[in-house]
Structure formats: C-alpha cells, structure tokens
Symmetry: C2
Subunit: 209 residues, 2 copies
Amino acid sequence: MYINGPLKEYLDDLADRSPTPGGGSAAALTAATGCALISMVANYTISKTKYQEAQGFVKDVLQISEKIRRQLMRLVDQDVEAYKKYYNATKLLETDEKQRQFKKDAIQAALKEAVDVPFNICKLSVELLKVCPNLAETGNPNLVSDVGVGALLLEGAFDSAALNVRINLKGLKDEKFCMDTEGIIETLKKDVELFKNSTLDKTQSKLKG
Amino acid sequence: MYINGPLKEYLDDLADRSPTPGGGSAAALTAATGCALISMVANYTISKTKYQEAQGFVKDVLQISEKIRRQLMRLVDQDVEAYKKYYNATKLLETDEKQRQFKKDAIQAALKEAVDVPFNICKLSVELLKVCPNLAETGNPNLVSDVGVGALLLEGAFDSAALNVRINLKGLKDEKFCMDTEGIIETLKKDVELFKNSTLDKTQSKLKG
C-alpha cells in the first residue's frame, strides 16, 4: 500500500509511465493533506484557556477531520485498486456472446466503482470545508494561514476529484446515475466556493489585523 | 527527511500538535504532486507515433517537470528546516544590548529564509503551469483529466504558498523587500489564473468531445 510506503516512491510512481497511481489518488492525497492541516489547527487550539469559548467546537472539528483523514488515506490506495479492476475487466476474453455480455457488465461495474472513489473524495472534502470558516474565526490565530491552506487544498482536491468523476462517467451507460451524480457534484461545488471564500476572507482579515 | 519516510508518517506529523511540518511544506508536497501528474502525461505521450508533432514539446515538458519536481521535493523538507531556524532564533538569550541586537538580526535572517521557501514554491508552480495549456491541447487525450488535475494542484499549491509568504512577511522589517515580494506574487497570480483557466477550458472541451 502506497500510504505506508515512502513519500518519494509514491511521487515517483505517480510521474512514471504506469497507469497507477493517477489523478484520483493524487486528489485523495491532497484532500488528506488539507485535513491534516485542519487537525493541526484544532490541536493547537484545544486546551488553551485563551480560546475557552471555542473548545467544544474545536474538539468536534478534530474528531471530524481525523475521521475524514483516515477515510481519505484509504482512498489514496482504493483509487489504485479501482483502476486495476477496470483494467482487468477490459482484458476479459470475448469469444462468444455470453462472454461479451459478461465483459460489458464487468466494465460497467468497474466504472461505477471508479466513479465512487473520486465521488467520495468530493463529499468528504465538502464535509470538512464546512467547518473551516468558523475555525478561521475562532481557532488559534497564530495558525490562521494553515486554515487558509487547508481550505485551498480541500478545494483543489474537490475540483480534481470532480474531473475524475466526469472522465469515468463518460464510459457509463446508466444515464440516470450519470445525471444524478453530475447534479450532486454541481450542488456540492457551490458549497465548496462558499466555504472556501468565507474561510479565505476571514484568514486575510486576521493576517491584516 | 520526510520525503524518504512513509507517506502516513508525514500526514500524521502534519496533523499533530507540533509546529513542523506545516502549511509551507504541505504546499510543496501538493505542487510536487501536480508536477508528477504532468510528468505522467508527458511520459504517456512520448514515443507514440499518434502524437508525432508533439514530441519535441513533450520531451521538453518532461525535462522541466522532473527538474521542478526534484526541487519541490527538497522544499518539502526545507520548509521544516527554515521553521526550526526561526524557532531557534526566537529562543536566543537577550541579557544585554549586544545579545538583543544579535537575536533581532537572527530572527530577521530566519524570516527571510522562511519567506524564501514558499516564494520558490510559487515561482516553480507558475513555471510548470505555463506548459499545461499546450499539454492539454497536444498531449495524449486519454490522460487529459490528469493535465487538468495537475493544473488544479499547482494552482492550489501556489495560493497556499502565497499565504505562507504573506504570514512570514508580517514579521519582516525590510519594507522594500516586503513590497517587492508582494508585487511579484500579485503579478504571478495573474499568470496562474490565466494558465489554469486555459488548461481547464481545453480539458473540459476534450472531455466533452
């Protein structure tokens, strides 16, 4: 698993002429990096009497961000697995009609899984972005730039994962599933914009103040 | 060095209640991840007769992106080192005027280095973003979403690094240096927008086509 291997090896394999890891896995890593920064800010706010009123909120933030970070770290490798399943399906034999149908079904099932991984990255990124404006407002101000960076990385990860959802939807025949998924991505994107902009506004005003 | 250690350990330490690694290092990692995707697309375009006309260009892209990726991977750890130097400077004794002056100078020197690391991340991210629109246009179209993700991550890394430049400039007394640096960041940001938007436009139109 890449998550337990050296950082350099992951980046080298990403750059290499090999299909995995690819853009979906990179999006999961970037979202996990954003999460980690949000956890760091929460960790530096917890148990400080100076930020007494924020204690309940930042404890919740830490619990959410660490839960989401664990999920995202698994998705770094799950994206690789999903691609392998798809690749294996495309290599199935099709010498008769029965095999041809089996292969078609296997490809469609693998593509749905290949959509599911980046779609989860999108949903998890928005879930954490939601807490960022309030964290920029009430968290330890010495780390406010880290809240800003966290929000920027979660936005970059969302947009990257959304691109991967779209490229995998292209091969799917289930039109209703495609339209529903596209619709949810569009709605989530509006939330992403809102939460990121609000976080950056608060970050900038604290940096100036 | 984090770059040779396990990916999970880096993310755990980022999330922890410890000052390093922090947002600057996370920006370097994100930029290196974007770079790696650009290298992957170049690698999948090189030596394919289908993309004959793009060969000269993609060979140049690969050389640039791998050079920049190596620099960014070093910056993942250099940001950690820069913070430690700053932290050590703030802990210097100041029992007399001579020591006080020495400490002030050491803090200013360390802050300039702490600006330099994210400033380099900004410059390197733009340098690679420049090639992205043409790569989305002429590179292997099966990987066009990876060019898009590469550009998105380079933009996220640029904005993240720019926030880290700004927070470190706050402590610097050299007003001319601060104004010059701010000015360059603002100019570079315009290029970032231009190259990212152009890359995404080309990516989207290929995904639709």
